[in-house]
Symmetry: C2
Subunit: 144 residues, 2 copies
DNA sequence: TCCTAAAACGAAATGATTTCTATTTAGGAG
DNA sequence: CTCCTAAATAGAAATCATTTCGTTTTAGGA
């Protein structure tokens, strides 16, 4: 159990409960995104009781406070990814093996300024994500 | 009924059925994205019979063939938008009034090349969308 | 005009996600 | 080290947007 995670939770104003830490630990160390149910199934044997809603709730709270990030998936189900990179960045996600690579820079802030200058208004958030096949999966058939 | 829509459907290899055209017509002329159910409710009185699944199916098919585009919404429900701009581009969507503005250029192709060069693999699609409040909605309270 | 694949119907199913109420717990205060 | 309280969890049940299915209708080329 990474002590740094407890710290990250404290900074996010969240209690460092064992289950919350376990969820975070499980996401960490993977280079893949995972669904709530998958994480739940893998964590069940670590706890005598662990509800699926607890996993859903924690993942959502962690994403909201920026500790983990959401993946936008074509099947529109929820997937989450833990990223050590604390800088603002984006992801290239493999639709086959679920590997996630960081995208270095995006220059999207300039785009935001341009849009606001032209249309007015306010940009609250942006989504930038590349979907595809990672180096290992490309050429090994279609994505699942 | 815009005759151009029938043509667009033909080009997409889809039959120009009255309902499909009506869905397309309704989306056209708006600068807002709409949900399947909203479109269905507004179209019901134009037809003695119109099933909600029909609206869902058509919107999905139209989006798949590139005639309309999907909006990625924080509530993860489906929304669609008709865009006259046939060039590759992206959108700034207002989370309050649902207005959609085109984003001129994105330079994302260069980013794709950069990512592939670094990590290998293949980019199948990308998502770029700005979420916020349009000029009219900014400063009028929080988004719904 | 015919024919056939495509489209539409609509009731029913689906299933991921959320809600709800009661119970437990983390962690700051004393 | 206790207490206390807000926060977190359990788990069953509900939700509800979306999809499926088998049947009927229709667009549009032959």
């Amino acid at each position: 159990m990474d002590q740094g995670h407890a710290l990250a939770l404290k900074e996010a104003g969240m209690k460092a409960t064992p289950k919350r830490l376990a969820i975070l630990d499980m996401l960490d160390g993977e280079h893949c995104y995972a669904s709530p149910e998958e994480l739940w199934k893998r964590l069940r044997d670590k706890f005598d009781r662990l509800g699926l809603p607890t996993v859903y709730r924690n993942l959502e709270e962690l994403a909201e406070s920026g500790v983990i990030s959401k993946v936008i998936h074509p099947n529109r189900q929820l997937y989450y990814y833990f990223c050590r990179n604390r800088e603002h960045h984006h992801h290239f996600v493999c639709l086959s093996c679920r590997k996630v690579e960081d995208i270095p820079s995006c220059g999207i802030e300039a785009l935001e300024r341009e849009v606001i200058q032209k249309n007015g208004g306010r940009v609250l958030s942006h989504i930038l994500q590349l979907n595809g096949l990672c180096g290992g999966c490309a050429g090994k058939g279609d994505p699942q």
